[in-house]
């Protein structure tokens, strides 16, 4: 038997002082938490990170937020394309975008009711929130009733999107012909909403490139050359449209998305804080905007943290509850399993699971799942300890005597008492899961289609550029510190020994 006792992170909440009869346990906890200033700041920063993750398209996006052109009237390409699978390739992005839309709508509704009734929202909030959540999920799955994903043909017909389309063509052509030595080609973001002259110059460059391409491949003309020619046409048309005047556009803070490549070659690389003010943190080696990538990395990290922790908290809670409640053989089996899992470094196991999935299936969902099914042992031991303590108490005996089913006793009566230590473990766990994902990305086992901080950092380490090392490091540091501060605060607030 391993004699190692479980280090309990929180004492039994049942031992709350009886001195404050009017207050519930959670009211006391809340009050104690609020007195802990670092923890409150941690919570504020964590919430700010959530807001940043949700509002990322307002801060960095390659599509104009607002657009006014002659003959088109005022419109918002940004809103129209918020769920477009071409602009937002990754499901995580579309999910967060739907959160953005629903929270904007929610905020609007809240404001309206506040103005009308003169006070905060009451009971009506709940059905609204439920409806908004449902909408968000549907939207993320692509069945959204509000804003539809646009088919590609529509996209091409729309003059407001022509520049972007040209950008796509360039992007695509460059991906297929990445050996080409032609430098100075624009990325997707750059093609959007420029001065007419700039657009015309851009068109000329693309045209030259297309010419070059078709000459090179005179015997075997590829799609890339014609795609480039089309792109040049579109850019010229856009320049003509702009030259008529009467157009303006409002952009996000940085007019680039996290996937926009400015050519995909090293000479396209822009260091931080140069004359190119629209890249505040420069670009990476593929010419992608670092600010946008770090910004959208928040979405990835938060998703990983929350989903992975939900998975392992569920597994750990259920197994721990079974082990602690039934004891005897169940306990023995489950604790053996825990002991087995503890003996292998969890990072090694996660690496193995992730590595065993073929590279094309290696999405962040696999990584979440891997973290989830490996890290449940801590929660399991916590919950088991709590159940062992509680199961001989009178209220459990009473519940049994009343003939309640085991399931009801476990989930309705005992589990709520084990909630507190699990909450603490989960808060620290989110930070841990974020670290695990970034470590995986750092050593090259992450999902390469998402902008993960660890991956940016690894690229920076490889190439030796400070502006690729520092921003992701700082982002990880802030996120993990904030979450750990919150976890510390909750733990201290739940500990009756530290409270007074």
């Amino acid at each position: 038997m391993s004699a190692a006792p479980v280090p309990s992170t929180a004492a039994a909440p049942a031992a709350a002082p009886a001195a404050a009869p009017a207050q519930s346990q959670w009211a006391i906890v809340r009050r104690t938490f609020r007195r802990n200033r670092p923890a409150v700041w941690g919570l504020r920063v964590s919430l700010a990170l959530v807001v940043i993750a949700v509002a990322a398209p307002l801060l960095a996006c390659d599509v104009p937020l607002l657009w006014q052109a002659p003959g088109e009237g005022l419109r918002s390409p940004w809103l129209e394309r918020l769920f477009d699978v071409i602009t937002w390739e990754h499901g995580v992005d579309r999910f967060f975008n739907s959160l953005l839309v629903t929270s904007l709508l929610g905020g609007l509704g809240w404001l309206v009711t506040r103005l009308v009734r003169g006070r905060g929202p009451q009971r009506w909030v709940r059905p609204y929130a439920a409806a908004a959540g449902l909408l968000a999920v549907l939207q993320a799955l692509g069945w959204g009733p509000v804003v539809r994903s646009l088919p590609y043909e529509d996209f091409a017909r729309d003059p407001a999107r022509r520049e972007a389309l040209a950008g796509f063509a360039i992007d695509w052509a460059q991906r297929t012909l990445d050996a080409s030595p032609v430098a100075g080609l624009p990325g997707r973001g750059e093609a959007v909403a420029r001065e007419p002259q700039a657009l015309r110059a851009l068109a000329a460059r693309v045209r030259a490139w297309a010419q070059d391409k078709s000459e090179q491949e005179a015997s075997d003309p590829s799609d890339a050359a014609s795609a480039l020619a089309r792109a040049a046409d579109q850019l010229e048309e856009a320049a003509r449209g702009r030259a008529q005047g009467g157009w303006w556009a409002v952009h996000a803070l940085v007019p680039y998305g996290h996937g926009d490549q400015r050519g995909g070659r090293e000479e396209q690389f822009i260091p931080a804080f140069t004359a190119r003010t629209d890249h505040p943190l420069g670009t990476d080696l593929q010419g992608r905007d670092v600010f946008a990538r770090v910004l959208y990395g928040t979405r990835i990290s938060l998703t990983i943290g929350i989903v992975a922790v939900s998975i392992y908290v569920s597994i750990g809670t259920i197994l721990g509850a079974l082990a602690g409640y039934f004891g005897r053989r169940t306990d023995l089996v489950i604790m053996r399993l825990v002991e087995i899992m503890i003996c292998v470094p969890s990072l090694f196991l996660i690496m193995m699971i992730v590595a065993m999935t073929p590279a094309e299936q290696r999405s962040i969902f696999i990584i979440m799942l891997a973290i989830g099914i490996v890290s449940w042992t801590g929660v399991c031991r916590l919950v088991r300890g709590q159940f062992l303590r509680e199961r001989s108490l009178d209220y459990v005996t009473a519940a049994r005597a009343m003939g309640l089913s085991h399931g009801r006793i476990i989930f309705r009566h005992v589990l709520p008492n084990a909630f507190a230590p699990v909450l603490v473990a989960a808060t620290f766990g989110v930070a841990g899961a974020i670290l695990a994902e970034n470590t995986l990305a750092f050593i090259g086992l992450g999902d390469i289609t998402v902008p993960s901080w660890g991956r940016i950092l690894d690229n920076g380490r490889d190439a030796g550029y400070w502006h690729l090392i520092l921003p992701p490091s700082v982002a990880i540091f802030i996120t993990v510190t904030a979450l750990n501060l919150v976890g510390d605060g909750i733990r201290d607030a739940l500990d009756p020994k530290l409270r007074r």
């Binding site: 087995i340 590595a355 950092l457 490091s473």
Partner: protein, 484 residues
């Protein structure tokens, strides 16, 4: 105490078994497949052109890793005639007739079954006729041949094994004889004696084909991927690396010195520092020094090792050039010319940065535990007694309190080891040191299954030993725990 130790040691065995099962299952059931040195050639529909000894590297690879066996349960001892016939028909139909998927599957099962398919094929040979019979004969000739034995590089087979190989070769020669086949389009009259000869060959070797129920169960459990792996493991054989073709055990032990020379010093440093910091922090409880240490450690704890290591490497090694950028030493050529002392200094100079990064990962965690342990003890009655009887504060803290206050830290010893080893992947990746972590990472990139398994098992074994040491230390430090 001895009984306790013994029981503790015995309990390690099922735990280790469980670990190997869990790791193995994760690997065997994952969708990816390991890669070997050789790729499989394009498959034809004619078994006559196939030879179990052809496409050698691919076959060796599949054989060595028992990939031609089922994962957990081998039910091929009871293959039915219909099953085999269906497979033969599907292969005969070709890609165009049966569809690519069905063709591949049938073809794969026929090759994997090997000698398991002999009894149904012999029975089928007597039952079928025409084209189908020819196809059955082709597969029978394929299945009945003994594959060449595989020996690891540098391993010389024993006389017994050589004898067996010779016997098998002779039998193969006999089966390849012209009397055991018929030309294309042969009539039934030509075929009958051949079928007869196959039947008599089969009857001769009855003992191999006729298995009792228990033998079937035994075969079903043992002749599987898992059975083979475990059989080898029991003999202390971790298998061969599919990329380097070297024994995995050897590869791991050769890397062990790199990993341990990082892990052990940094663990000791982290431990001593953590205890010091914990004690200082606890004795100054509530004072600015305590707060300062607390905040500092908290911030340290929140920066991931890979970020610190990257930044340190960049500043100290690349810009200031105080330390070498990577590697364990200056390379074999340079160290040859050095004296032992110089070599040691060279290695130390190289691994200082990795050790610092390594240490720092565990430091914050351990010292937080040390602090809380000390705080608890400093409040206890016996410390008050010690103070009351007039002992100097230094003696109270270092002689009386520390011993008990370090209990939670000792418990960490066992659980910290896997965490530390987990960190080794990142450190070794950044500083390009050929330890455990690099080995695992490289074999993961290359899907070298045996190496992955071997490293994980080795780490698990190390952790088990670490936990054992923890328990012993615990018993030594705390006389209240009795293990009668």
């Amino acid at each position: 105490m001895t009984t306790y130790l013994l029981r503790r040691l015995l309990l390690m065995v099922p735990t280790f078994l469980g670990i190997s099962v869990v790791i193995w299952l994760v690997m065997a059931l994952s969708p990816g497949k390991p890669t070997g040195a050789g790729g499989g050639g394009e498959m034809g529909a004619d078994p006559a052109q196939m030879d179990p000894n052809k496409d050698e590297s691919e076959r060796i690879f599949r054989e060595q890793f028992a990939l031609n066996r089922p994962v957990l349960w081998n039910g091929w001892t009871t293959l039915s005639d219909e099953e085999v016939l269906a497979a033969v028909e599907a292969v005969r139909g070709g890609v165009s007739g049966s569809g690519i998927e069905a063709f591949r599957r049938a073809r794969e099962s026929l090759t994997d079954w090997g000698r398991y398919a002999v009894p149904p094929l012999v029975r089928l040979l007597g039952r079928t006729e025409g084209e189908v019979q020819s196809a059955v004969l082709g597969w029978l000739r394929y299945a009945s041949l003994w594959p060449r034995s595989i020996y690891a590089a540098g391993v010389t087979p024993t006389d017994e094994e050589l004898e067996r190989d010779k016997r098998r070769l002779a039998e193969n020669e006999r089966l390849k004889a012209p009397g055991m086949q018929w030309p294309a389009g042969a009539t039934a009259a030509v075929r009958a004696p051949v079928v007869q000869r196959w039947q008599s060959w089969f009857d001769e070797g009855r003992a191999e084909w006729d298995l009792g129920a228990w033998a079937r169960v035994g075969r079903g459990l043992s002749d599987t991927q898992f059975g083979h792996y475990w059989g080898n493991l029991l003999r202390g054989d971790l298998g061969l690396s599919s990329i380097e073709r070297k024994p995995v055990g050897e590869m791991i032990t050769s890397r062990l010195k790199y990993s341990l020379s990082l892990a052990v010093p940094s663990f000791l440093i982290a431990w001593v520092l953590a205890v010091l910091l914990g004690v200082v922090s606890a004795t100054n409880h509530g004072k600015p020094l305590d707060h300062g240490i607390g905040v500092g450690l908290f911030l340290l704890y929140s920066i991931p090792v890979f970020a610190t290591a990257t930044v340190l490497q960049r500043i100290l090694a690349m810009e200031l050039k105080w330390f070498p950028v990577s590697n364990f030493d200056s390379g074999a050529a340079a160290t040859q010319a050095m004296t032992t002392w110089q070599e040691l200094k060279d290695i130390l100079w190289h691994i200082t940065l990795p050790i610092v990064c390594y240490t720092y990962g565990g430091l914050a965690y351990i010292s937080r535990q040390a602090r809380s342990g000390m705080l608890e003890v400093l409040k206890s009655d016996y410390v008050r007694t010690a103070r009351a009887k007039g002992l100097p504060e230094r003696q109270v803290v270092w002689r009386h309190a520390v011993r008990n206050g370090m209990m939670p830290v000792v418990t960490l010893l066992g659980t910290a080891l896997p965490v530390l080893l987990g960190g080794s992947v990142v450190i070794e990746y950044i500083f390009n040191i050929d330890g455990f972590g690099r080995l695992l990472l490289n074999s993961i990139y290359q899907k070298d299954y045996n190496v992955i398994m071997g490293v994980e098992l080795a780490v698990a074994a190390l952790t088990l030993v670490g936990m054992l040491i923890t328990d012993i230390l615990y018993a030594v430090m705390d006389p209240r725990i009795s293990y009668a």
